[in-house]
Amino acid sequence: MQESAINLAVQLIISANPDLFEIIGLSLRVSLSSVVLSLVFGLSLGAFLATDHFRGRQLINVLINALMSMPPVVVGLFVYLAISRSGPLGWLGLLYTPTAMIIAQTMLITPLVAALSRQVIEDLYNEYREQFLSLQLTRPQRMKALLWDARYSLLTVALAGLGRALSEVGAVIIVGGNIEHLTRVMTTAIALETSKGDLALALALGLILLSLALLINILLSSLNISARRQAYA
């Protein structure tokens, strides 16, 4: 089975199956968009929580940590109920669109990025704290400086977010509906083939998705390594 899956994956790629490329394209669009949004929100939140001690901070940290356990299906349902035509945002007509999928994934991934980046930034801030106090940096200045100086470590956090986005199916299938040519992405296609019993095709699609992830990771890591080589130790 596994070998036939590999063969199938290679065939699919070589034959340049247009449906496959459409699905890959949408997967990338949805995942990358939601990762970028999650990074915007998650890194800001993480840096905000890391850079000062205010009342209730510990509570928010715990909440965000707990939100990492939010099941995708539940996130999907929440978003579904909000944007369903009978929901409060139904008039926007977002249900079963890529936009809805991006919203759901962003909600899912932001806590992960926020919790992990808070930890990374807090560790660095432990080192920088007194110096920053002395310079009387404003909070945004502190956040910006820390995010910049921690960028190499934060890349791993971003990759974890990307991994979650690329592999996620529970939320996108509810709000996207897995509609052919409209909202079908790699993971929903894999789920579909699994339910059709076409396990070889499901595995083949999985392999293609993984190769894609590998490609992106190689790209980002080599950028990272060459940047680090001009080392700001």
Partner: protein, 251 residues
């Protein structure tokens, strides 16, 4: 957005997974220019979504639930579209000797007496409801008693078949899903042909009065087209591996 050139169909999975829409919809789309988007989910979820107005057309196979949908004012009218039948699939060895039975009641009785594993969808889908009514008819209460050989998978048809195959368990499935299913392993249809296994598909227009967002015109056009003589013939002509999957019966 009413009456856009797109309509949304909430559908059962068996029609989608068998490739039925891939075969049928392009004909409609070229004729009318109306794009049909299909969301294939469990029957329960499909009806729930339609109740939330997230559909123009409902196409499922759970007559009682569909009638309730119409009665509650969410659907305009339900039409019979086509039918096929349920079958019992099981491992090649047929440990419960199901294939030799003359009717479904005996077949199920056999399963229970030899304690052969049986995988149930357990998800209140049309298939699950049918299965429950069959057990009920032979006075075996799988819900309250939950015999050890009875495994409720709480999953869709495909996942349940995968589970049944993994367990070596019998299960009830609609013929369309089974014929187009790829992971058959050593499984075969072990029982079929009892009229009690009749499986009726229906189509319903979501009520524009309840749901103003319904593309009433396009959706009605789609339903009319489905029920038309020519389309009914096309449905009859749809086959996988040389086997007909659905039998049109629109009145």
């Amino acid at each position: 957005v009413a009456d856009s050139k797109q309509i949304l169909v909430q559908s059962t999975t068996s029609t989608a997974n068998s490739g039925f829409y891939k075969y049928l919809l392009p004909m409609f789309e070229t004729q009318t220019g109306i794009k049909v988007n299909v969301v294939a989910v469990g029957t329960g979820q499909a009806i729930r979504n339609a109740r939330n107005c997230d559909a123009d057309v409902l196409l499922v196979h759970a007559k009682a639930a569909e009638d309730a949908f119409v009665a509650d004012g969410f659907g305009v009218e339900r039409f019979d579209l086509m039918y096929n039948d349920f079958v019992i699939i099981g491992p090649a060895g047929d440990p419960a000797n199901v294939s030799k039975q003359s009717d479904i009641h005996n077949a199920l009785k056999n399963i229970s007496t030899v304690n052969a594993l049986f995988a149930s969808r357990g998800d209140n889908s049309g298939t699950h409801k049918k299965e429950q009514s069959l057990w009920h008819a032979i006075n075996i209460n799988t819900e309250a008693v939950k015999p050890s050989w009875y495994r409720s998978t709480g999953s869709g048809m495909g996942a349940t078949i995968n589970t049944a195959i993994g367990l070596g368990a019998y299960t009830l499935t609609d013929r369309a899903t089974w014929i187009s299913f790829k992971n058959k392993d050593d499984f075969k249809i072990q029982f079929q042909g009892d009229p009690k296994l009749f499986n009726q598909y229906g189509v319903t227009l979501v009520n524009p009065e309840k749901c103003p967002s319904v593309s009433q015109h396009s959706a009605q056009q789609f339903i009319d087209w489905l029920l038309s003589k020519k389309t009914q013939q096309s449905i009859a002509a749809f086959a996988v591996d040389g086997e007909q999957l659905f039998y049109p019966n629109a009145k």
